[in-house]
Amino acid sequence: MPPTKLPHIRLRRSLAVCLALALSFSLTACSGGKSSDLETLPIDTYLEKPGDFLGNRYVLRAQIDEQLKWEKGLGRVLAVVAEGSDARLPVFVPESVGENLHVGQRYELQAIIEQGGLIYVEALHKY
């Protein structure tokens, strides 16, 4: 029969789990899209291999260049020009996030890279 574990060891394990949960919660709260601490999207690398960025979250400061498509109840695909780059990028803005978006407006976009390399905007605000 194996020896029984000591009670103080069990206590330490419980504390470690609690700390981990607390850290995990705080991280989740931060990545909820409302924080601007996210990294800026590396545009050149993204253009070469968008598949490498799937699931990541980034912040993107950009100016709206053109609305490529809009679908009621779904959202719109925009072409934006990122700050510090000449390249135009396609982004999807869900209808729930979108406001009145006009060509030429500048926004700071918080986005996640979805399937197919889609830059899915989770939050945005003018700057």
Binding site: Y46, L47, E48, K49, P50, G51, L68, K69, E71, L74, G75, V77, A79, D86, A87, R88, L89, P90, F92, E114, Q115, G116, G117, L118, I119
Partner: protein, 640 residues
């Protein structure tokens, strides 16, 4: 047009035989071909109507332009007309030979001496000069000097002989006259004798009558014997007289006949010289004639038929004087003609100079006035003359390339030569022949072999050496042989999807698969595809020339969609790629991302490509397509 291909194989073989025999013989047996009643091909062919008319028009033009002969020379009827006088023109070849010999010759000092001698002889015979027998004799002797010149051709000897003959006849006539005079004296004596004998007989009879009453019968017998003797002597004397009379008449007749013969020979020779254009000799002989025969003997009594031909329509009485006048006029005209030739040559009107020279040469062929034309001018005229004749012969043979080449050469020799008219006519004739060949091809492709044959005949009639006729023959040969192998060739090529290979053999295969309902649509499809590729590639090349490299690339991308393995298209892409590398990179990336399902990445690449070439149709379509794909994916996720 494919539906028309049925049942033409046999006709094709017939046409092939027709074209081959035409090519081999340089023409077609007209008897085997129905008269050309073809109308313009209804499809794309436009048959040249009146091809023969065009051919004849060209020949008429060539005859006018390349015929160096003067209008006054009619070789067909063999006549040369000069101021209403008709000379017998020799055969064209003979005339050409003499004319060329003249152009090759150079004036010599000997000819100059001969000219002076003849002028001297003519001058001596002039009525205004000394016409004594001695002077005439001196002039006559000069004829033998003249006859020693080659240029004279021995005609002065003929003149001298004629004159001598006339003199001899005159001398003989003098002898006859003397004999006549003597006979007349004998006749007078005989007449007197006869008259005396008649008187004596009369006296005897009167005496007998007086004595009859007293005479006795015996005495009467004696008187009768005397009377008989006188009667028989008278009869003899009368016989002598009749004989003398007969001899006188014979001598008179002989004299008249001999004189007439000399005159006729003289006149005949004058006319002969005139018709031979030996005007100087005609003048010399006429001069001697006028000095030998009386003024009342000037009417010409021989050669009237020849003179009627020489002066048609003239009802004048022909005299030696009128012959003299015509001869002098001809010599003057030759002089003026030579001056005109030289003047035209100096003014670089060489074509006119050549025409006039021929007239002058024919009229004055035996006159030394032609020596006023310098040697170098003669050589120039010879080159021009030969060039025109050769060009005429080439035109007759319808060798248009040769005609054009010679026309250029001739125009260098004669500024007044209508080169452009010739070249234009050549071009028109060639075009008409080409059009006829094209129409023949169209009719052949439509399966109308009879019309194809008629058009080919027209093409050959206009331009027998047209290279397009040879091509037509080769094409027809290929079509005929392709018929049997076509199905297998098509299957092989189609299996390998060698569209270009099929396209290049489309004509052969078209005929081969004319009745194949299964393969024919496939063939048509491939032909249309490659034709589209060719169109796009050609348009692309045009755009490259205009500096529109990205637009050109887009056309090649379109062409690649039809057949990515097409050789000419890929070659064009390879040549253009370095100039549009940035654009191509983004497009390739977009397509690759799209294939991987990364529509956003593809969309981003299309946007980048559009930044390079904003009006790109490829980018616009790609953006639209990829955006739609993105939205579609999102819609699907949303619905889940």
């Amino acid at each position: 047009m494919w539906k028309h291909y049925t049942s033409i194989s046999l006709g094709l073989c017939a046409l092939l035989f027709f074209a081959a025999s035409a090519s081999a013989q340089g023409g077609f047996p007209m008897g085997s071909v129905a008269p050309s009643t073809s109308q313009p091909a209804r499809a794309n062919a436009s048959a040249p109507t009146g091809g023969m008319l065009e051919s004849n028009t060209f020949l008429e033009m060539a005859n006018r332009v390349f015929d160096p002969s003067s209008d006054s020379m009619d070789f067909e009827n063999g006549s040369f007309e000069w101021k209403g006088k008709n000379f017998n023109l020799s055969e064209q070849r003979a005339f050409r030979s003499r004319f060329e010999r003249f152009l090759l010759a150079s004036p010599t000092e000997e000819e100059e001496q001969y000219a002076k001698l003849m002028a001297d002889i003519i001058d001596r015979l002039s009525v205004s000069n000394n016409n004594s027998d001695d002077a005439i004799l001196d002039t006559w002797e000069l004829l033998f000097r003249a006859s020693r010149f080659d240029l004279d051709g021995g005609n002065s000897t003929i003149v001298a002989n004629q004159v001598f003959n006339a003199w001899r006849i005159r001398k003989e006539a003098r002898g006859v006259t003397m004999s006549q005079r003597e006979l007349q004296q004998v006749r007078q004596y005989q007449q007197e004798v006869v008259a005396n004998r008649a008187m004596a007989l009369k006296n005897i009879r009167e005496k007998r009558l007086r004595e009859s009453s007293s005479n006795q019968r015996d005495e009467g017998e004696a008187a009768s014997g005397e009377t008989e003797a006188v009667t028989s002597e008278v009869a003899f004397r009368m016989l002598d007289l009749a004989e003398t009379e007969a001899r006188i008449i014979a001598l008179e007749t002989q004299s008249a006949m001999t004189g007439l013969q000399a005159k006729l020979q003289f006149q005949s020779q004058i006319v002969s010289f005139m018709l031979q254009r030996r005007f100087e000799h005609a003048l010399v002989l006429a001069g001697f004639y006028q000095s030998i025969f009386k003024g009342s003997h000037q009417s010409l009594e021989v050669g009237k038929d020849q003179l009627q031909e020489f002066l048609p329509g003239s009802d004048l009485a022909f005299t030696v004087d009128s012959m003299t006048f015509i001869a002098r006029e001809a010599i003057n005209d030759v002089n003026k003609g030579v001056d005109a030739v030289n003047a035209a040559y100096k003014e670089d009107r060489n074509l006119i100079a050549l025409e006039r020279l021929q007239e002058v040469f024919f009229l004055g062929e035996y006159l030394t006035e032609l020596n006023k034309i310098p040697t170098d001018q003669r050589r120039h005229m010879l080159d021009l003359y030969r060039g025109l004749i050769e060009a005429g012969e080439l035109a007759e043979a319808k060798d248009y390339d040769g005609v054009s080449e010679l026309a250029n050469e001739i125009s260098k020799l004669a500024d007044d030569f209508p080169k452009n008219r010739v070249l234009s006519a050549v071009q028109t004739a060639k075009s008409m022949s080409d059009m006829a060949v094209f129409a023949a091809s169209q009719y052949r492709n439509l399966g109308d072999i009879d019309k194809a044959r008629a058009e080919l005949q027209t093409a050959i009639d206009i331009w027998p050496s047209n290279p397009a006729i040879r091509e037509f023959q080769q094409e027809t040969t290929k079509l005929a042989t392709a018929g049997s192998q076509g199905v297998q060739i098509f299957d092989d090529l189609y299996k390998r999807m060698d569209r270009r290979g099929i396209y290049e053999r489309r004509m052969d295969l078209g005929f081969a698969l004319a009745e194949d309902t299964q393969r024919r649509p496939l063939l048509m499809e491939v032909v249309e595809q490659v034709a589209r590729i060719d169109l796009l590639v050609n348009q692309s090349k045009e755009l490259v020339k205009q500096g529109e490299a990205y637009a050109a690339w887009e056309l090649l991308v379109e062409a690649a969609k039809v057949d990515p393995s097409d050789g000419p298209m890929n070659q064009a892409r390879a040549e253009l790629a370095p100039r549009v590398a940035d654009f191509v990179l983004q497009i390739d990336r977009a397509e690759r991302q799209s294939e991987d399902g990364h529509h956003a990445g593809s969309l981003a690449a299309y946007l980048a490509a559009q930044d390079i070439y904003p009006i790109s149709r490829l980018c616009r379509q790609g953006i639209q397509r990829e955006t739609e794909a993105l939205m579609s994916g999102l819609r699907t996720e949303e619905s889940l």
